[in-house]
């Protein structure tokens, strides 16, 4: 049937090509998509066109993804066009996206197509809840959106419009409006756009400033940034302000293979900053031992990945978070400066901060000399009583003289650290972990590296920290058990990834059960 009809010599009835200009605005609720569609309608009506906007805000107005749709067309010999109420995939001329993943979503809706669509999108990210709440790293890959835009958009105008808007004291809708004007996708002059904003009446100056900035950014885009090839390890040891540190640096470069330098230097910086010079030397001694084992295991062929990972995770292991560390960080001058910058506090203001702390006897005991702390813990009655005294939420006014002094003194107690119970525990745990890595790296290099990486499982404070530890122990025990397998490294990686997500989509015990069925 179809074939016959195809041969029919009939012409298309109406001019199906003479259609209105169609514009979709994809946004998150509360991003001013309504304002923007209002402006665009106004723009068209000023020119004597017929314009219609529709939207389906509903519950999406609470931070959810939503879409606004505008159609515009001049009337012809007294007839008004009939305008559609929703975008049709493959028939949208302009898509304005106020966030980068929303731009991606519009592509998935099929409203960005190579034959007609101009995509105007801000490439800043406002993370979705699933990206934020994911334990570990869960941020979606913007690169995938960039790639898709490359194959879907006829014309693309992409830059950080949020940053531009903030810099010019307005909101993103003004920036998008400016970019739309600059794109030339609509047959209206810059003055027409200005007129619309002026008539709006709210925050006109800032809106115009932002509009113009965006317009110029589109009309004469900046040259693409030049990419510097990064090879920090190649350069000579960075000049250290402090001779003591300079000494450590040179010995680092003498003992360690080049591929591990950059990481080891970062690690060294952290441990020295955490405790003292001696601690830095300790760090280097351990790494020295690590690299000798690495060489024996044929590390050269693996660019000394074992040493490099050890440099990274050993530094983290040695700089465990304790009361002293937190107090020290909270009382630094650099910290206050950073906060002042973030909240925009200047000399005309007075800045103060309040900390939300919840110390438990656990942390206090951790600070005390090991022997005494153990004795204390054995006296349950006393310990419990003390915990009841200590274990409660405390609001700490950081920059009040009294509280600052308390934090300052605590922050200066590094001298107590080496002898403390917590330190003893951490060292023991650390050594067991390294020993496990040493044992395995010889027979299975990747597996040894995976063991080192498992350190990533330990993070957080109190309960979170405890959960991390137990996951770590589970994973390590399982790795030891499956070590003989040829594919042990692959499983080790899976075990770690699962452990990170455990309870939040990951099921560590489930995976371990599966592993048991394998053999």
């Amino acid at each position: 049937m179809r074939n016959e009809t195809l041969r029919l010599p009939l012409a298309a009835a109406g001019a199906a090509t003479e259609r209105p200009i169609t514009i979709a605005i994809v946004a998150m609720g509360g991003q001013g998509g309504g304002v923007l569609s209002g402006w665009i309608v106004q723009l068209a009506e000023d020119a004597g066109w017929v314009a219609q906007s529709t939207s389906v805000p509903g519950v999406a107005q609470r931070t959810g993804a939503t879409i606004y749709y505008v159609e515009m067309m001049p009337p012809a010999n007294g007839q008004r066009p009939i305008l559609a109420q929703m975008p049709t995939p493959g028939d949208v001329d302009i898509v304005l996206a106020s966030e980068f993943m929303e731009a991606g979503r519009s592509i998935l809706r099929g409203i960005v197509t190579p034959d007609r669509t101009t995509l105007i999108a801000s490439n800043h990210r406002s993370l979705a809840i699933s990206e934020k709440s994911a334990p570990g790293e869960g941020i979606a890959d913007s690169g995938a959106v960039v790639e898709a835009i490359g194959v879907t958009a006829r014309q693309q105008i992409i830059f950080n419009m949020d940053e531009l808007a903030v810099r010019n004291g307005s909101v993103i809708s003004s920036a998008l409006f400016g970019a739309l004007s600059g794109s030339g996708a609509l047959p209206f002059s810059r003055e027409d756009y200005h007129a619309v904003i002026k008539r709006d009446g709210k925050g006109v100056t800032a809106s115009l400033k932002t509009f113009d900035a965006a317009f110029d950014r589109v009309v004469n885009p900046p040259p693409p940034p030049v990419v510097l090839e990064n090879a920090p390890a190649k350069q000579a040891a960075p000049a250290a302000a402090d001779p003591r540190f300079a000494g450590l640096l040179t010995s680092l470069r003498e003992t360690l293979p080049e591929p591990a330098w950059a990481m080891a230097e970062a690690g060294l910086r952290k441990v020295v900053d955490y405790q003292d010079e001696r601690y830095g030397r300790e760090y280097l001694e351990i790494l020295g031992h690590v690299q000798s084992i690495d060489r024996l295991a044929g590390g050269e062929a693996h660019h000394y990945a074992f040493t490099e990972n050890a440099a990274k995770y050993l530094a983290n292991a040695m700089t465990y978070d304790d009361v002293i560390r937190v107090a020290d960080l909270k009382t630094r001058a650099t910290r206050r400066a950073r906060i002042a910058r973030e909240v925009g506090a200047g000399p005309q203001h007075i800045l103060g901060t309040t900390e939300f702390m919840h110390p438990r006897m656990e942390e206090i005991a951790g600070m005390l000399p090991a022997g005494f702390a153990r004795w204390l813990k054995s006296r349950q009655g006393l310990y419990g009583w003390l915990d009841r005294k200590v274990n409660k939420g405390r609001r700490v006014r950081t920059y009040s003289p009294g509280w600052f002094l308390v934090l300052y003194v605590l922050g200066g107690m590094q001298w107590l650290r080496r002898g403390s119970l917590r330190h003893a525990e951490e060292v023991a745990h650390r050594e067991e972990w390294l020993r496990c890595a040493y044992d395995l790296v010889g027979s299975n290099y990747e597996l040894g590296v995976e063991v080192l990486k498992c350190r990533r499982l330990i993070k957080g404070y109190s309960d979170t920290h405890a959960r991390g530890l137990s996951k770590f122990d589970k994973v390590l025990a399982e790795i030891r058990r499956i070590a003989p397998r040829f594919d042990a490294a692959v499983w080790a990686r899976r075990l770690r990834e699962t452990a990170i997500k455990d309870g939040e989509g990951g099921d560590l015990d489930g995976l371990i059960r599966t592993l048991h069925t394998l053999d």
Partner: protein, 718 residues
């Protein structure tokens, strides 16, 4: 008063004869009611008709001038019952609500109203919340129109057409003594367009006239034997009257050539998108000059048999474009054709989707399939139709599917309900999972990540009622959540009263945020701000005490997570019998910000001492486990990647949109999470004393900091 002002929109209602109205359709409808000489308006807010309620609530003066009584009804049943004023008196009344949910609640009153019939015109504005963007179950209001015999208008999405149909709708109602429903879909309600306004009309017969000369007629009251007569009257008198009116006034429309081998019958609401579909197929131009005859039903109930017959006569086939299911219209049309023995084939949901949004693409495919079957030559040389499939098939786009994260709606920044659910999550970590029945309102977002709390939602105000089955169980106590909006909508009686009477042993959490927030922050009985037109400030605690609740706890600052958790725990563990009722109150942050932001800005400008607060995270103290986010989900609490080679995972970060509600700090404190949260207090226009104190302490602090920095080993070259 709700914190948002609609003064600008109210001005639209003053437009006079010949002036051009420009704006959203729902506002055009509001203006249309005043032009039609309505005497009273009621309803219950909800998307997509909230705007109508909001604007009238702010239009006291105009309504006063016209002698119109406007009410924000307690619920849709109240609104529907309000229409009884038009049973005996020549008063025009209109009510509005979100449908089908609202119509469900109203149907008892509507059924009674429709049975006895009306004297004055009564119009129900139906916000048909169907398809994309809808927040409710997907059903059709059409069924209610048929079961109670109320006429259903489904106007073309065009402001002029809609406003005209409001006037005609009242006349139709009066001509047939039958209530009329005017159905507008979500996209149409929010559609920007224009129409030429008329003067508003002050009703000739006023509410006072009615009160001063009361009338009654036993024949209008739903009670045997009258009830039986009503049914006969519906069929014998009201239906023919309606059909006659619709025909004479040409409420339904014909487009395109008078004669054609095929034709399309459609609901008025489908018109614009059908035209676009025809245009894609080369059968219409952009101005609606179609090659295919169209019969546009602006009245979808009753069906006008004679018009249908007239349209179908002499055609080879006809297509019915009817959105939603069941296919009531298609069935009705088939009945008409059979009864009149018209052999023309009728197509509908055999070529169009049975369920879901009738997108232009769906309509286009349906029409194409129909023409392929019945009149392929019309498709001519088949101009290319828009098609995104090749693009969507591109591997790069396919890959994107797995990348783009879902973006569900969630609680706003600083929402006072967040700490409530954070506390609930903490309590459940301690006492194990409980059965939680949820309700309708912002708090329903608790069912989504990161909280994942809530098992069922049975309708507005029914959160408490829906835990009724568990009232006597000896197991873990059930928890029922309900908002203040739902509480006053019906929850007080259906939920709390019922629980007290039946000695329900469960926990009932009433979330009181001072407004009906989810629908746009309208005032309700327990709203705290003074309202010169309504009586607010009636505490929920008094209401529950009034119905006999004894175990009642009030938390007046929900951000106090520790307290919230303690109260919840007590409620779940106390020995006391009967319902444990918790009233958690804090103002909706959206409305609070609307009120306070301008004031603060003004104060700072005016040189007054103002303390601005904001929360932050010490990035070097945060270890990046994101436990805080799993207990919050605040839009302003996000994560950021540090350029530190030693770090694998991004750390928590708070952006400038933070309103310092304190939730994150309170949570990390209550859950002993970590010490990385801080609250920054910035004093604007500090006093001399402020400066003096700051100077002293900063002198000491600066001295100490330098002292320690001197001893630090500085890695970086200065």
């Amino acid at each position: 008063m709700a914190e948002r002002s609609f003064a600008k929109e109210v001005e639209h209602l003053r437009l006079g004869d010949g002036e051009v109205f420009r704006g959203e359709a729902i506002l055009a409808i509001t203006k249309g009611l005043l032009q039609a000489g309505v005497s009273y308006v009621g309803g219950y807010q909800g998307s997509p008709i909230s705007h109508l309620m909001d604007v009238l609530a702010d239009a006291k003066d105009i309504l006063g001038e016209l002698g119109v009584n406007f009410q924000s009804s307690a619920n849709e049943a109240t609104a529907a019952a309000m229409l009884s004023a038009s049973v005996m008196y020549p008063l025009r009344g209109a009510v509005a609500w979100k449908s089908t949910v609202g119509t469900n609640v109203a149907s008892d009153a509507l059924a009674n109203l429709a049975s006895g019939g009306v004297t004055g015109g009564t119009l129900v504005i139906i916000g048909e919340d169907y398809g994309e963007g809808s927040s409710i179950m997907q059903e059709r209001t059409h069924a209610f129109a048929m079961k109670s015999q109320m006429w259903l208008l489904d106007p073309r999405p065009d402001h002029t057409c809609i406003v005209d149909l409001i006037a005609k709708g009242f006349e139709l109602s009066e001509a047939s003594n039958t209530p009329v429903m005017l159905e507008v879909r979500v996209r149409t309600c929010h559609m920007h367009g224009h129409f030429v306004a008329k003067d508003n009309v002050r009703p000739a017969f006023s509410l006072d006239d009615a009160l001063n000369t009361p009338k009654r007629d036993l024949g209008r009251i739903v009670l045997p034997p009258a009830a039986y007569e009503h049914e006969q009257e519906k069929i014998a008198r009201r239906l023919p009257a309606a059909i006659d009116f619709v025909r004479r006034n040409k409420l339904n429309e014909w487009f395109g050539p008078a004669d054609g081998c095929v034709g399309i019958i459609l609901q008025g609401g489908m018109y614009n998108n059908v035209i676009r579909a025809l245009q894609y197929l080369g059968l219409s131009d952009a101005y609606g000059n179609t090659q295919v005859p169209l019969y546009v039903m602006n009245v979808t109930y009753p069906l006008i048999d004679s018009e249908v017959a007239e349209f179908v006569q002499g055609k080879d086939a006809v297509l019915i474009v009817e959105e939603g299911q069941p296919d009531y219209l298609e069935q009705a049309l088939n009945t008409v054709l059979r009864r009149r023995d018209i052999q023309t084939p009728l197509h509908g949901k055999d070529v169009l989707p049975m369920a879901g949004d009738y997108t232009i693409q769906a309509i286009m495919n349906g029409v194409q399939a129909f023409l392929d079957k019945r009149a392929p030559q019309l498709l001519g040389n088949r101009p290319p139709v828009p098609d995104a499939r090749p693009v969507l098939a591109d591997p790069k786009v396919v890959h994107l599917k797995s990348v783009v994260p879902p973006r569900p709606p969630g609680l706003c920044t600083g929402c006072p309900e967040r700490p409530i659910f954070a506390a609930m999550k903490l309590v459940q970590q301690e006492l194990g999972e409980h059965h939680v029945s949820a309700d309708i309102g912002c708090h329903l977002f608790s069912i989504l990540p990161p909280f994942n709390i809530g098992t069922t939602t049975m309708g507005f105000g029914l959160g408490a009622a829906s835990s009724a089955a568990f009232s006597q169980s000896g197991g873990k106590r059930s928890i029922a959540v309900m908002g203040d909006g739902g509480f006053w909508h019906n929850g007080l009686t259906s939920g709390i009263g019922n629980a007290v009477f039946n000695k329900h042993d469960g926990v009932f959490l009433i979330v009181d945020n001072f407004y009906s927030s989810a629908t746009g922050g309208q005032d309700i009985l327990s709203s705290r701000a003074p309202n010169k037109n309504r009586k607010t400030n009636n505490p929920i605690s008094k209401a529950v005490a009034g119905v006999g609740a004894t175990w009642v706890r009030e938390v007046d600052r929900t951000y106090d997570v520790g307290r919230m958790r303690a109260v919840l725990k007590e409620a779940l563990t106390t020995k006391e019998e009967g319902p444990k009722i918790i009233i958690a109150s804090s103002e909706c942050m959206l409305n609070r910000q609307r009120r306070e932001k301008p004031l603060v800005a003004k104060a700072i400008k005016g040189g007054q001492r103002v303390v601005k607060e904001r929360f932050g995270v010490d990035e070097d103290v945060c270890t990046g486990d994101h436990a805080c986010i799993r207990l919050s989900g605040c839009p302003s609490l996000s994560v950021k990647q540090l350029d530190d080679p030693l770090r694998d995972d991004p750390v928590a970060a708070i952006d400038n949109s933070c309103v310092a509600c304190g939730n994150c700090g309170e949570v990390s404190e209550a859950a002993a999470l970590c010490p990385s949260f801080y609250r920054a207090e910035v004093v604007h226009n500090p006093t001399g004393w402020d400066r003096f104190k700051a100077k002293l302490s900063m002198a000491l602090i600066g001295f100490l900091q330098q002292r320690r920095d001197r001893r630090r080993i500085v890695a970086e070259a200065a």
